[in-house]
Symmetry: C2
Subunit: 269 residues, 2 copies
């Protein structure tokens, strides 16, 4: 019997060199305009911490800072438990290549327990993903081909016209289908094309500088999503002279708010 | 002539030991339930980077992770420029005390330039701060006495009754008045009492684990706010078995969106 790794698992496959040192290889499947898709770099960091023998609990918060493009080839991830408390653990992480540090990160892992719980916002209304055409994505960004994307609102602009709103909402899942786990959810939190493209109706130089994701479910709740679509929605709050923010929600089809995520993005216009 | 430092400047006053090493002292004025107000620790990190001779530009993004309480007395801040690009710079920072690392942080500083700019959300409607009574804060949290807080919505609950909304909006400024700068804006991004208190109508064990702030103005725009009130608004999205998120906006009285901020908070209920 031959088993083939999913392209996503290949992209975040890590050799464990001990003492929190992991080695990965970029793959052409997840290439972006420059370097790999930021979401897959973030996912590899989560995978490295998950695999570390010192790790307790599951992801609660992650911040990833993109210092410089990751170039094709080998990358080294170093993770370190900065502090282990009774029910949570703080991590620092760094991705480096021969040319220097490309990525820094901090993460909080934690153990969830019974407590009063509630979700305040409601899931954006959306027709079933099966009723919306899939967006076939074109050449320049290979990583997008690894996702089925069905845009509900704010699709990639095809005409050079300004939009008053930066909101994009889409049904999305990995292609081929793959059960949702924390690395995959992490990558999904960066699945949106830059909000400035939507407002300006065209592509511009833009890139994520820092990404923060808060996870609201444990591994069992996440696994219950299976390979189904999730509803991802994002908007910007302010575009301010070269930097804009983005705030996002990722919902399970069953209306579970799986994650909320924020990023700050460099742009030139 | 005798000049007296503002209590906030005393709280973030740092001795520069060279090579990115700074030494500060906690002050009783900014004490919280356990250790100092998280906002003042975040502000001290911003101040340390601002003072570093390698620094270029002004704050764009900051993430601060609270690993363990800072105990009364001396604390050491170490900051390091992890990468300097043409128009931005990535920093890592750590606060340590004799008992170990208490706080880790990453920051992006950047240089703003002319570019198409816009703010999407509108400022929440609020009567003038002068028309709303100041909330005199009581004993257990000394740091709150350093702020004039005029609650527009979602004030500190005084009766044990659940609320359907976690939204708090308040006019706030430092007391005594002090011109707004980046350390002060950083501290303001953590000025909200825990959202779970509002939802549950009572105080519970709760503490910020990780705080991320995005800055949308440069120093000149910030200085233009002078000593005036800002309008700060925050809400939670999901309370999930021991951790909830908070998302916030800080507006100048002139409707400038100065900063957006997010945090994840531990709670027990």
């Amino acid at each position: 019997m031959t088993t083939t790794l999913h392209s996503f698992d290949t992209a975040i496959d890590l050799a464990d060199n001990g003492n929190g040192q992991y080695v990965g290889q970029t793959t052409s499947d997840y290439a972006n305009m420059v370097g790999p898709f930021g979401g897959v770099t973030a996912a590899a960091i989560v995978r490295a911490i998950e695999r570390n023998p010192d790790r307790i609990g599951e992801p609660v918060a992650l911040t990833v800072n993109y210092l410089a493009p990751v170039t094709d080839g080998r990358f080294d991830i170093t993770v370190r438990a900065a502090r282990t408390n009774r029910t949570n653990q703080h991590w620092t992480a760094e991705v480096a290549q021969q040319h220097g540090v490309t990525t820094t990160a901090t993460a909080v892992f934690g153990i969830r327990r019974d407590a009063w719980s509630d979700t305040e916002p409601t899931m954006p209304p959306a027709p079933d993903p099966e009723s919306i055409a899939h967006t076939a994505t074109s050449g320049p960004v290979p990583w997008m081909r690894n996702y089925d994307m069905h845009y509900v609102d704010g699709g990639i602009p095809t005409e050079p016209a300004d939009s008053a709103s930066s909101t994009t909402t889409l049904w999305v899942r990995q292609r081929p289908a793959r059960a949702l786990d924390f690395p995959a959810l992490t990558a999904l939190s960066d699945v949106f094309y830059p909000r400035v493209f939507l407002r300006r109706g065209r592509m511009l130089p833009a890139g994520t500088i820092s990404l923060t994701t808060y996870f609201h479910v444990d591994g069992t709740e996440l696994a219950a999503q299976g390979t189904d679509f999730v509803l991802a929605t994002a908007r910007a709050q302010r575009f301010a002279r070269g930097y804009f923010d983005q705030t996002a929600q990722i919902w399970g089809r069953d209306a579970t708010l799986l994650a909320t995520s924020h990023q700050i993005v460099y742009y030139k216009d």
